[in-house]
Subunit: 135 residues, 2 copies
DNA sequence: CAGGATCCGTTTCGATACTG
DNA sequence: CAGTATCGAAACGGATCCTG
């Protein structure tokens, strides 16, 4: 085995925290739907991807809020609705999403060509995301 | 809601593909153990992180091989052993891991300071990873 | 009607024991 | 050492019901 600098050994690697987010089939897809799809209501998430069950959706929204990744605000134009918005921490997930998309795209040549093309200019893409969803 | 360029809408987003391959609690941790920890045998994975069950480990190794992220080669110095190595595709997961670590580190101030410090110079860090694990 | 809770059958996970 | 078998626990999914 090759030599590994000791500082890169596994101890206390903060990956575990993010694996809890990514290590779930739905959480990241919900974040994506907000960040890229502009979804923000319960109904939009439900119709968004391939049929998430209502109880699972409610559960993930709760967990994402508990983790400070999204927050719910009352819709100013329609009191009955709540809008789920990304927090700063949620917006900061953009690079992770980007790299996952680029990874899959780079090896499959399938999927949304325009989106991956945009993402390839990472700096510009991320700046755009931040500007769109800030505060 | 703000205007979203149509090309960024969700249709055919390759995120699904990556979520299917690494969207579970263990797969990415195994990749990490190879990439950062230099682990390469079944036993090393078992002792590596917080106690993965043997059947789960076997299952994830099988799936990671099926997905072309790792491959098993016979240990040249010990015929009984198999060494699990990253494929090119597996090495390409480094940016995803990096962003996940940076995200968690940026919001928790905990964990391996030296590692995240190294990762912050992304280009250099990724080049190092590639050089170490190539072919 | 939007957002969510509850019930229930099915699938997946994971700890332990065991095997080639 | 590198896995498989077993079996209970947890997560999932669908349908339905509840609440403001």
């Amino acid at each position: 085995m090759r030599k590994i600098p000791p500082s890169t050994r596994r101890s206390g690697c903060p990956l575990n925290a993010s694996v809890e987010m990514v290590g779930d089939r739905w959480s990241l897809l919900i974040v994506r739907d907000i960040m890229l799809g502009g979804a923000s209501t319960y109904a939009e998430f439900l119709n968004g991807h391939e049929r998430i069950a209502t109880n699972i959706l409610a559960d993930r929204l709760r967990k994402l809020m508990k983790d400070g990744i999204i927050r719910a605000v009352p819709d100013p134009t329609d009191g009955r609705k709540r809008l789920y918005r990304l927090t700063g921490r949620g917006i900061d997930l953009a690079p992770v999403l980007t790299e996952m998309v680029l990874w899959a795209a780079g090896h499959e040549a399938t999927g949304n060509r325009a989106l991956t093309q945009q993402m390839r200019d990472k700096k510009k893409f991320l700046t755009g995301i931040r500007k769109r969803w800030q505060a």
